[in-house]
Symmetry: C3
Subunit: 275 residues, 3 copies
């Protein structure tokens, strides 16, 4: 491990403690599948979730929240209006926001909404490898067609790495492409996190909940890149810990939330596998 990687790992440990201590209020305009686990993950971790969903309320709440997470799963016209208002308001109030482009590349309507959301300049874009590759196409960086299979990735994160770097540079943001190995980049620095369990993609919306917890870090970290890395590290190590006691998806979900609650900076730093 190079020295700057070591420094990054140490900062991930510090950020875990700092984020919990500040208990940021995270607004989630998220999909109907993920609401339960995203709110539970934020609470277990130690942040304060608000699942403010409708256009009547998202804009006003964005002024109160410490960070915003927009997730385009189970998208509808009303949801799209909400997301647009929330992202615009977050920008206006100087609040950082994260875009989770669920199932990008599959559906015309959704890709249009993602294109419009990109104009509000997210601080982080987090998706599985296929989704990140699709967002790169939506952003006009590549012609290469890529799409997940439903919401499940078809690609490994290493396949997405080059496009993730370009996307980060193009959008001036951090990009996280998750997979067996996760890639985190801001276009300048790129790190890979090799933690995590194959059971994680067998639990619905666990990736969405990672975006929500990353939103908590965004409210506290000095840069989107550090927030993106620290939350990716946390989810990888918590996945490892959960897989030590759970052998199947039902109990893995329970163990995951339990470890998200109990993990300390020392565990995180000791177990993290950065490349």
């Amino acid at each position: 491990m190079r020295t700057d990687a070591t420094a990054l790992v140490m900062r991930a440990g510090e950020l875990l403690e700092a984020t919990r201590a500040q208990r940021p209020l995270v607004q989630n305009v998220t999909n109907l599948v993920s609401m339960d686990i995203a709110a539970n993950a934020l609470l277990a971790f130690g942040a304060s979730p608000a699942m403010i969903y409708a256009p009547e309320e998202t804009e006003e709440f964005a002024a109160i929240a410490d960070a915003l997470v927009v997730n385009v799963g189970t998208l509808s016209a009303t949801g799209a209006e909400s997301m647009d208002k929330a992202a615009a308001a977050a920008r206006m109030h100087g609040k950082p926001w994260l875009l989770d482009p669920v199932a990008a590349g599959l559906l015309t309507y959704r890709d249009g909404v993602i294109r419009r959301l990109l104009r509000h300049r997210p601080s982080i874009i987090r998706g599985n490898a296929s989704e990140i590759m699709a967002v790169a196409r939506i952003a006009g960086i590549t012609q290469e067609a890529a799409a997940p299979r439903g919401v499940d990735s078809r690609h490994g994160a290493s396949e997405a790495e080059a496009l993730a770097v370009k996307l980060a540079r193009h959008c001036f943001c951090a990009v996280v492409a998750t997979g067996a190995v996760d890639v985190v980049t801001d276009g300048e620095q790129t790190v890979r996190v090799a933690n995590g369990s194959p059971l994680a993609p067998r639990v619905t919306a666990l990736g969405c909940s990672m975006s929500s917890v990353m939103g908590a870090y965004l409210a506290v970290a000095p840069s989107p890149f550090e927030a993106a890395f620290a939350a990716t590290a946390l989810y990888g190590v918590v996945g490892d810990m959960a897989a030590e006691t759970a052998r199947a998806p039902g109990s893995f979900r329970v163990a995951f939330l339990d470890n998200l609650y109990s993990i300390g900076a020392t565990d995180l730093v000791a177990r993290l596998k950065v490349q």
Copy 2:
């Protein structure tokens, strides 16, 4: 413990058995985060949940249901229309209904909806301490500004007690303000329940599910106050029992539902800490 408190505790035990035996049908016009756990809590407890949500159906269903629970989380214009219709129909058919004013005091739109719902005369208002204080302001009882942090309380229930009593008198209903100690009042009698675990607020929508189970009691109890007290007692003691085996939020949620299913009147009466 005074004699009338003892009598109240005994009645809570009797009501637990009576409510299970009658298995009331509880209509929930509730938020998107709580649907899963509210329905699961009602089923585990032994009641019959119906999450009838849209304005096309809420009115007709209110005539069939034994009680109605309205929860303003993840509020939208459509949801507000549904709530209004459901509460009006419940009143018309003589069915008791409960209002859960999630995040009251934070958002203009939501506070307006809560104000309109109060006109339909809920039998019980149940919220965390900050929410109850905010409803008191919405009802015009106080000028004091109070609001939760997102959906999490900023206040202890003791801070809310005086306003809870005033609110109960003003609205001719029972009021429950939950916290480390829960306050239950109908404006005449006030009791405090000192059971419960600090893990409970780390599980999303567990308070919403308490409102739903309280709705089941409303269908059976002789008065809103007794329903409010018995359900508050149940949730406190079940929280204590769950915390005996679970040390973190994921397994606490599972243990909570398990104990909601298995708890008997004897356990409830023996463990209840009433002040």
Copy 3:
């Protein structure tokens, strides 16, 4: 057990393996309560869920998906539009689809939506006994009024059997009426599955998740009847297995998902009780 029943059981074992191997993409236009558990059940089993919900997206997605599941719980006008579009598109693209008529017979609006959906010719109709009896009335086969209590059945599957057979003949589809004993019929053949636990109806939307997993089988099985039987068999046996370690609904739900992940064809065939 007659020889053809033995053959059916063996095919259920083969279909379990074949469906997992193909990992079909199942589109769910489902209710707000079931999204989490339906997606988790599909993932735990080994299929790929997509909870594409809004009318802006359902039609386009139906061309991509391998099968469609339509569930009328928490129905709204927007949801009804989505279901209509999705079912029409599934038919046009030759994709099989399943109808789960939650709470049929209770509400005017919902029964009208179910009547219209029947015109799109579902491959399978799956509900509890009361719902199947109500759909038979909606389809004009009987005058007999029947309805569930909220979403819970009032009838045993044996009471529904004659109407289930008539409904299957009338709609040229397979029909599953679940209960303590489940009935599976295509109007020609009828089998009963006597597996399953009384804890299953104490977990919300577990029946909805069964419909979703049945949708995965529909994408792979040679006939709707075989898909219906194999998924009913799977859910019954997994219920038995879960009840061996779990004694209450919270842990039953976790154990159910765990066993849905780990069950193999041998377990299924050995434990299946067919009548």
